[in-house]
Amino acid sequence: MNWLARYNDWVAILLMMIGLYAIVGRKNLVKKLIGLSLFQTGIFLFFISIGKVDGGTAPVYFEPAGRDWVRYSNALPTALILTGIVVSVSTLAVALAITVSLHRAYGTVEVDEIEKADQDAPS
């Protein structure tokens, strides 16, 4: 099997790994959150490509010209991801709100500077 034939999976895995790297490796909270979004997007792409049926079209009902059957792609994973996106957006909203509060409290969104500020001034 040609390894490029599964390019959708490769893209999903690549996005997830970039995201995970950003979450773990970056010190800037906003970059970490971008990483989280990328990670989630990778998973969403993976899910959507599960639903693809070979030769299937968008699952919208129509009367085909010249044939008496239509092959549809599976719409369920797409529907799930719609919910997944809602969850991911709300997570991001909460995370950004907390980041704004962090910036107000510490004056920075760099994790190492926040850590240092707490060590310098233990309450």
């Binding site: 909270l29 970490k32 998973i43 369920l76 799930l80 969850v87 997570t91 995370a95 907390i98 962090l102």
Partner: protein
């Protein structure tokens, strides 16, 4: 009419109640009174559900399955209740009710008034999520409700910022790790969906039987897919459960959260994580699938044993009492995971009993600490010095709860540890026995440090006993843990039944 719709009401009532809180009730103690009313009504509903499951009350028509919105199963979302679910539901709603009742004075101190009604709204939504996870029979629904509950938990932890700005840091860490955990669970569900084509848990379990027959016939692609799913579930749920070494978010989150939020989360969140683990590993995948192709059971046992020892050692090194209890939670989660890893009826029975015991004991201890935070200057060992004279009733409860953590005979902690040790010996496993014994000895040491400080003669003369509502709530929780230590038959019977139902696999 009512009895036919109880499974739906247990989610709908707190969901609406939570959303309505900031709209209807803004001033003074009203949001608290409303929250207590809503959460107490979920407790009433879950007791009624338990009675329906036990056959005392007549159940709804399609028992044990409830089609949400009457969409036919397996296409629609199914709510489903078995002995384990009903049991966990009662524990969660009991702890939530008592903690909510106790929360008023402490939150008046720790949360500014202009934000308090929103805090109660998030509080109720958090409980809604956890109740929903317990009752749902749909795998994707578990993910959505888990995220509902987790998002609310991040906010609850972050609201500790008015007392200590480090709460924000704890909250964002919790959010990052929690979201990764949830995403991994979602991926696991995706892999199972790839081989079964369904999201309904009971349907998944039935189809996985056929899938197993296929890979035993030589089609290894199915085996590999399911293995990947099991791995994703193990890591994802491990993150939510705070199982060592995935526990990094827990100590900070419990330490800096508002005192009562710590009590709520310590009592509920990791317990529901353990419940999700049991659901996926046993009900959906079945012990044959989740423990045979990759040695999940052995890995869980090792992580659990390491977590028990590590959590107890770290607890011994802390001076902030909230942190001692938080690290102790890491250890206690280890006990629950240990039973899941052993995966025999006795082991699971130990896990389920410990789920109950630890939920009530730990939230009781945190409520007692919230009382200390309310009356004394802080909650470090120095602040607790001599409080045994000043707050005798609260501190007596704290001591009794501490004994439960150690697991001395006559307390609830002893019962669950007994089952875990018995299960290990039945299976000829040495490691878990050593971990339980070492963990209990270390627990004796870290509880002793606190109790020793509490009963020293020197005391801050300004400190008084906590308000009666907090004292009564502490004693309800601690008293329940003592009661279940003395009358172990009730919980043993319920949990053994639940354990057998889980090990049969399938719904």
């Amino acid at each position: 009419m009512l009895r036919h719709n109880l499974p739906a009401l247990i989610v709908v009532v707190p969901l609406l109640g939570g959303i309505l809180t900031p709209i209807l009730f803004r001033r003074g103690a009203r949001p608290w009174a409303w929250a207590t009313f809503v959460v107490a009504s979920t407790f009433a509903l879950s007791v009624a559900l338990l009675l329906q499951v036990r056959g005392v009350l007549p159940a709804w028509s399609a028992y044990p399955s409830y089609p949400m919105g009457s969409w036919p199963i397996p296409w629609g979302i199914e709510l489903r209740l078995d002995p384990l679910g009903a049991f966990v539901l009662v524990i969660i709603s009991l702890v939530a009710t008592v903690v909510t009742f106790a929360a008023r004075r402490s939150l008046e101190r720790e949360i500014p008034e202009d934000r308090r009604h929103f805090f109660y709204a998030v509080w109720i939504l958090c409980i809604t999520g956890f109740l929903g996870i317990t009752i749902t029979g749909d795998a994707f629904n578990v993910y959505v409700l888990l995220e509902t509950a987790s998002l609310a938990s991040y906010i609850l932890v972050g609201m500790g910022r008015d007392r200590d700005r480090r709460a924000l840091k704890a909250s964002v860490n919790y959010l990052l790790l929690g979201s990764i955990g949830a995403c991994l669970i979602l991926l696991g569900i995706g892999y199972i969906y790839m081989v079964t084509g369904t999201l309904n848990m009971a349907d998944m379990a039935a189809r996985l039987g056929e899938i197993r027959a296929k890979w035993e016939g030589g089609e290894m692609i199915y085996r590999r897919t399911v293995m990947v799913a099991v791995a994703f579930f193990a890591v994802g749920i491990g993150l939510k459960l705070a199982l060592f070494p995935l526990h990094a978010w827990l100590p900070d989150a419990y330490t800096y959260a508002p005192s009562m939020a710590s009590a709520l989360l310590a009592g509920i969140s990791t317990k529901v994580g353990a419940y999700v683990a049991m659901r996926f590993f046993f009900t959906v995948l079945g012990p044959e699938v989740s423990f045979r192709p990759i040695p999940t059971g052995t890995i869980l046992q090792w992580c659990a044993a390491a977590g028990i020892v590590y959590g107890s050692l770290m607890a011994l090194r802390q001076t902030e009492v909230k942190r001692i209890l938080a690290y102790s939670s890491v250890a206690q989660v280890g006990y629950i995971a240990l039973g899941i890893g052993i995966a025999t009826p006795t082991g699971l029975q130990g896990s389920i009993v410990h789920l109950l015991n630890h939920a009530i004991t730990k939230s009781g201890l945190f409520v007692a600490l919230a009382a200390v935070a309310l009356q004394a200057k802080g909650t470090t060992l120095v602040d607790l010095r001599g409080l045994g004279r000043r707050m005798p009733v609260t501190m007596a409860a704290f001591t009794a709860g501490g004994l439960g953590l150690i697991g001395i005979p006559m307390t609830a902690g002893f019962v669950s540890k007994w089952y875990l040790v018995k299960a290990s010996i039945e299976q000829g496993l040495i490691l878990p026995v050593v971990a339980v014994v070492v963990g209990s000895l270390l627990a004796l040491a870290y509880v002793w440090r606190v109790v020793e400080a509490v009963y020293q003669p020197s005391a801050d003369p300004g400190v008084r006993e906590a308000p009666w509502s907090v004292v009564v709530s502490t004693w309800i929780l601690i008293g329940a843990s003592l009661f279940f230590g003395l009358h172990a038959t009730l919980t043993s019977r319920l949990s053994l039944e639940a354990a057998h139902a889980l090990l049969r696999g399938g719904p």
